[in-house]
């Protein structure tokens, strides 16, 4: 199929592995899905320590279930990426370990206190779900199928994150103040989740033309703000003065003043080159090396036989 035909036919779940897709499409889709898969892994690793640090048994169980979900999402997405025939799952996992693999800006910052948890578990997950819901209509069918299952599970993540935020913002004055501090720290990063503005985004145009994306960065950021700014305010969080966010009466949507955001930091992170990037990638590479023996024994088992009883992770 040539690129012109791809652009003509582009639409929800239009293309499948049996279609002969041009290399440019397959590379663009691989880049996008690999990024998404890497982000699921790195998000899972960022939240993992909070299984231990959770303040109650209910939160501990929910966090444990959530981290399992995120790693499961990564597995689904690596399969969807692999189906494009550009990279193997093994190659993508190695790229993530050696610092070449790219992932979401928010997961390059270490998270230290429980007050920061809802910044990821509510706002970043809410932003992710907002984007993922639109990707159910991506043109690459295996990606859309992965999104069906991911979105099914994510509703629990967002509500659980909001439940934590609600609990903190109904806590003592000191707790509320610490939560507000965490919010001020994370808010600009959360807005940058949606990436650079359309005119600065390198890949946006092509991804939309071939139906991989159905909404632009700007549209997603604005509609996210429409829902989540009132939510933050409802819980008593004060929106920081910067970046300036203005409500556009005519268009009935929020816009952010993007010159107020730190794009140098964003692009350093995009190159995996911030202090936090090194820390997060390093800790995951360390964890991967520690269980190398499990993968090795599975590989040799696979070569020796193909029997054995599978164990569902439940």
């Amino acid at each position: 199929m040539d690129l012109e035909t791809v652009k003509e036919r582009a639409g929800p779940r239009q293309f499948a592995p049996k279609d002969d897709m041009p290399e440019k499409y397959r590379k663009a889709a691989t880049r996008m899905i690999q990024f998404h898969a890497n982000s699921e892994v790195m998000g899972g690793y960022l939240e993992k320590p909070f299984i231990r640090q959770a303040p109650s048994i209910d939160r501990k169980l929910a966090f444990s279930a959530k981290v399992q979900d995120e790693i499961g999402h990564a597995q689904l997405l690596y399969r969807a990426a692999e189906s494009l025939g550009i990279k193997t799952r093994e190659e993508m996992l190695d790229e993530l370990a050696n610092g070449e693999g790219k992932f979401l800006n928010c997961f390059h910052y270490p998270m230290e206190s429980w007050h920061e948890v809802p910044m990821i578990a509510f706002f970043v997950d809410g932003a992710a779900m907002h984007r993922q819901a639109t990707l159910k209509n991506t043109s690459w069918t295996p990606y859309a199928h992965a999104m069906d299952k991911v979105c099914f599970e994510e509703g629990f993540h967002v509500k659980h994150g909001e439940s934590i935020l609600s609990e903190l913002m109904n806590g003592s004055k000191a707790t509320q103040e610490k939560t507000q501090e965490a919010f001020e720290l994370w808010w600009p990063r959360i807005i940058q989740f949606f990436g650079p503005t359309n005119d600065k985004s390198v890949h946006n145009d092509f991804a939309q033309q071939v139906g991989l994306k159905t909404k632009s960065n700007d549209e997603l950021r604005d509609t996210f703000l429409d829902t989540y700014v009132p939510k933050a305010e409802k819980y008593g969080l004060e929106i920081p003065e910067y970046p300036r966010i203005e409500y556009d009466e005519a268009e009935e949507t929020y816009h952010v003043n993007e010159d107020d955001l730190d794009w140098d930091e964003f692009w350093t992170i995009a190159k995996n080159d911030s202090e936090g990037s090194h820390e997060q990638i390093g800790s995951r590479a360390h964890a991967q090396a520690a269980v190398e023996w499990v993968r090795e024994s599975m590989d040799s088992w696979e070569q020796a036989s193909n029997t054995g009883t599978p164990q569902a992770a439940d």
């Binding site: 929800p12 979900d69 809410g126 779900m129 819901a133 979105c151 629990f156 509500k159 659980h160 829902t227």
Partner: protein, 106 residues
């Protein structure tokens, strides 16, 4: 030789198991599947796979999800929280459907 057949109703949908056919090889299995399973039902694509290549594990052998109390991982459990956005509400509705089907079976 028996081949399991999976039918996809329309482009972009899932291939769902719909039955099986006898056939000596893959090519004939596809032809027989087209005749037996794609003749009356709306069909966009069919897959065939040799029956002996399919593994199975059932509820006698292991506890699948939904057999133990794990309410903490359902969006529906957080009753004091209204869904923040339409996509959260949609996910919750899908989860409620699964919960109802689990309850109906127990």
């Amino acid at each position: 030789m028996i081949w399991e057949v999976f039918r996809q109703e329309k482009s972009g949908g899932y291939h769902k198991h719909c039955g099986n056919v006898h056939a000596p090889d893959r090519e004939l299995a596809l032809q027989f599947a087209a005749i037996q399973h794609g003749r009356r039902m709306k069909t966009h694509s069919l897959w065939v796979a040799p029956q002996r290549e399919i593994g199975e594990i059932d509820a006698d052998e292991m506890s699948f999800g939904g057999m133990t109390d794990k309410t903490y991982r359902w969006a529906t459990s957080y009753t004091d929280i209204e869904p923040a956005a339409p996509e959260v509400a949609e996910s919750e509705a899908e989860q409620a459907d699964v919960e109802h089907s689990l309850e109906a079976d127990s």
